[in-house]
Symmetry: C2
Subunit: 191 residues, 2 copies
C-alpha cells in the first residue's frame, strides 16, 4: 500500500476478529521497528510476541481500553479481544528517551500492520507490575508498552476539528467510533 494511504487510513482498533495473525506479519512488524531512528543507535528495545492463549488471556486481564467509550470498546476475551500482543521492553530503566524510541518503534509497527490488513491498539494503561510478572521480565529490563495486534472487527473514523472542538472520542448511533483530530493549522506555527 502507498505510505500516504497507510498513514491516512490507519486507526486504533479495539475489536478483533478471532483469526490468528501470521508469524511472518509479526516478524515483519518488528523488522520495521528495528529500522527506526534511535538516539546514538544504542537499540535498547526488545520485543516479546505473545500468542500462547493462556499468556494472552493473563496479559489481556491487566489492560484497560478506551476510557471514554467504556464498556462498549472493552473487548471480551474469546469474543473480540486480540489473540496476539507484542510487549515492548527496554534494557535498563524507564527514561524519556527510551519512551521516545518506543513511540517511534510502535508507530512503525502499527503502519506495518495496517499495510497488510492488521490493526493495533497501543496500550499504556495496564498493570505493569502484574504484566511484568506474567512475562517474567528480568529486573534489569523494563516493560514499557503493549501492542495488541489482530484483524479489525470495527472501522473507526477520524473527524477533523479546530482548536475549539472537543478532542474526546465517541461512539455514534451506529456504534462507529469517531476520533477527533486537530487540523494542521491549529497545531502549527511558521517562523
Amino acid at each position: 500500500m502507498e505510505f500516504q494511504e497507510v498513514a491516512k487510513k490507519r486507526r486504533t482498533i479495539r475489536r478483533y476478529k478471532q483469526v490468528q495473525v501470521l508469524d511472518k506479519d509479526l516478524t515483519n512488524m518488528i523488522d520495521t521497528a528495528r529500522r527506526v531512528s534511535c538516539g546514538a543507535n544504542v537499540q535498547l528495545l526488545r520485543y516479546i510476541v505473545i500468542q500462547n492463549k493462556n499468556i494472552v488471556k493473563d496479559v489481556f486481564e491487566t489492560t484497560a481500553w478506551g476510557g471514554f467509550v467504556t464498556p462498549r470498546r472493552t473487548p471480551e476475551f474469546g469474543k473480540n479481544a486480540p489473540l496476539t500482543f507484542i510487549a515492548v521492553t527496554a534494557l535498563g530503566d524507564s527514561t524519556e528517551i527510551i519512551h521516545a524510541n518506543a513511540g517511534a518503534a510502535i508507530q512503525a509497527m502499527q503502519y506495518a500492520a495496517w499495510d497488510v490488513g492488521l490493526g493495533c491498539c497501543w496500550i499504556g494503561a495496564f498493570n505493569k507490575q502484574k504484566a511484568s510478572e506474567i512475562l517474567e521480565i528480568p529486573t534489569e529490563s523494563t516493560l514499557l508498552y503493549l501492542l495488541a495486534v489482530g484483524y479489525p472487527d470495527e472501522a473507526p473514523v477520524q473527524d477533523d476539528i479546530d482548536m475549539s472542538g472537543s478532542a474526546k472520542y465517541y461512539l455514534d448511533d451506529n456504534d462507529v467510533l469517531h476520533v477527533p483530530k486537530y487540523k494542521v493549522e491549529s497545531i502549527t506555527e511558521w517562523r
Copy 2:
C-alpha cells in the same frame, strides 16, 4: 512510494543540499504526525516550522550531530546544513508519555518526508534552554525535540548485525555512513 519501501530505505540524513523545502511537503509531514496514536487522544504536541535563515542559524548552533562520526558528519552552515527545522513542543511538562507520543509523531514525519525525497535528522542532543529562548517557547510549554528536514546530500546504508556485533555507526573509506542494526531474531522472543 510503497510503505515497505519507505520503511526499509529511510535513513537519518546529516548532510543536506542547499535547496529550500516546499511548504506543502512540510504541511503534509505535520498532517501525517497529527494522525498518529496518542494516549487518550489528548493531542498535546505542537509544531514550529523554522525557515527564516537567521532563526535556522541560531537554532542550528544549539545542536550536536552524530557523536561517533564527528567532525565529518557535523554539517557546516551555508554549505550542507539543513535549511529547515521543525521544533516539536508539548503543552505542559515533559513526561514519559509525551516523549512516547513525540517519538511516534516524529517517526511519522520522517516517513512522510522520505516518501517525497526528503531526509531528516531527529535531534535530541541540543541546548534546550537556549533553543527555547530563541524560539520564545512559553513557560507553560516544553521544547522536546528538533527535526532537521532537507534534501539528502549523502546516502547512508544499514548493516544487519547479530547481538555480538558492534552497534556503533561509522564512516567507511568512501565516506559512506554505515548504521548497524540488530536483526529481528536478536531482539525478539516468542511466547
